[in-house]
């Protein structure tokens, strides 16, 4: 029920009513940006029941991925060092 779908804002359709057009997985749909008025065209937002709830922070997304890419190798390196250090 609390499903949120990433979408990219395409254009502001009605600035007064805070309605924007968003590309939701290839489908274009009007969404309300009343809860996220700072979002502008090009921004990625999270859509829930027709409302943009939050902006998606692309830098944070990249950081999480970079962290996840390192987790395993780091662990393996630690293991290797442990083995090398064992007399």
């Amino acid at each position: 029920m609390c499903l949120g779908i990433p979408a990219q804002l395409v254009e502001i359709v009605d600035p007064a009513a805070k309605i924007a057009k968003a590309d939701v997985a290839g489908v274009r749909r009007d969404v309300s940006i009343a809860l996220c008025p700072e979002a502008s065209p090009g921004d990625w937002v999270l859509i829930h029941v027709g409302f943009a709830l939050a902006r998606i922070d692309e830098e944070q997304a990249r950081e999480t991925l970079a962290l996840l890419e390192q987790i395993g190798p780091q662990y393996e390196q630690e293991l290797a060092e442990l083995r090398a250090g064992t007399p």
């Binding site: 029920m1 609390c2 499903l3 949120g4 990433p6 990219q8 997985a25 309300s32 009343a34 809860l35 996220c36 008025p37 990625w44 999270l46 829930h48 029941v49 027709g50 409302f51 709830l53 939050a54 998606i56 922070d57 692309e58 944070q60 997304a61 950081e63 999480t64 991925l65 996840l68 890419e69 390192q70 987790i71 395993g72 190798p73 662990y75 393996e76």
Partner: protein, 370 residues
Amino acid sequence: MRFVSEYRRPDLARNVLREIEALVEPGCPVRIMEVCGGHTHTIYRHGLQQLVPPEVEFLHGPGCPVCVIPMGRVDDAIWLAEQPDVVLTTFGDMLRVPGKRGSLLEAKARGADVRMVYSPLDALELARREPDRTVVFFAIGFETTAPATAVTLLHARDEGIENLCVFCNHVTIGPPLRAILDTPGTLVEAFVAPGHVSTVIGTRPFDFIARRYGKPVVVTAFEPVDILHATAMILRQLRDGRCEVENQYTRVVRRDGNLRALDALAETMELRETFEWRGLGWIGESALRIRPELAAWDAEARFDLPARHEDDFKACRCGEVLVGAIKPVDCKVFGTACTPERPLGACMVSSEGACAAAYQYARPVSLTTA
């Protein structure tokens, strides 16, 4: 899809699984509860329970807002749909949920005007287009969804649209968590906290779990790698003897949440003294109602609802499933008298409920019929 498929990458899942294996203490079980139907669904769909070491056990809490609506409230919605000149609108998930008098879909088949909407704004648009009808929006959902209802109410007030009203059944996430933690003998050692509720309320409302109950909390996104990542973060907290509220969903969730959404909620709704949760019973200050200033848009103020209390079915053990005391398969009626087609209990009524997810993805298949 961007921001989705990256978090399903098998190489990342393998990385995190290796981390989890290194963090688990062999023979020491760790029971982690998730309280969002989206998480429950991901865990079953991607078989995460089978991927993690046997020491890690996922418990499925009361995270499905469709499931926890008591049968008496569903009956009230059906009653509303049967009133003259009323159009009853709600989300698709709610249409199949049975009360004592059947479901809204069955009421529609009998001739009631019941329509599915994607957004509460669609109900508002319907009210604009059909000024001679009274459009009732049967509102359900946690704090994720409640701000959408709040903004819709404010639009209706500001535009003077009087033929729309809301049957408010929004619930809050904190009180049921406290109820679970206060259950004697609770097995829950840590929480995977709901990411999308947290976009609205932020991470502070979970602080009491770490401070008062000494249990780790990780606010988490919805893809399989996200949930594995949160599991590793919880295991690291337990290994280091920490209990904190950490945020795994940094790409979306901010510590203070969405202030604009919280303002809209405060302007339109207030806490009920108490509310009944299907499977859990009455929980104090666990739901929202519409403020008296907006009574003109409140279905409970405009209609004299039957508001009859209906007991849950006796054979159903949803209450124990929802606090993590038993697994869905431990219930005698699971998959026999209680199925997604004919649900008896809360956890079977929507695809996000623990029993429905277990039925769909994790049912033992008999070799003779397979």
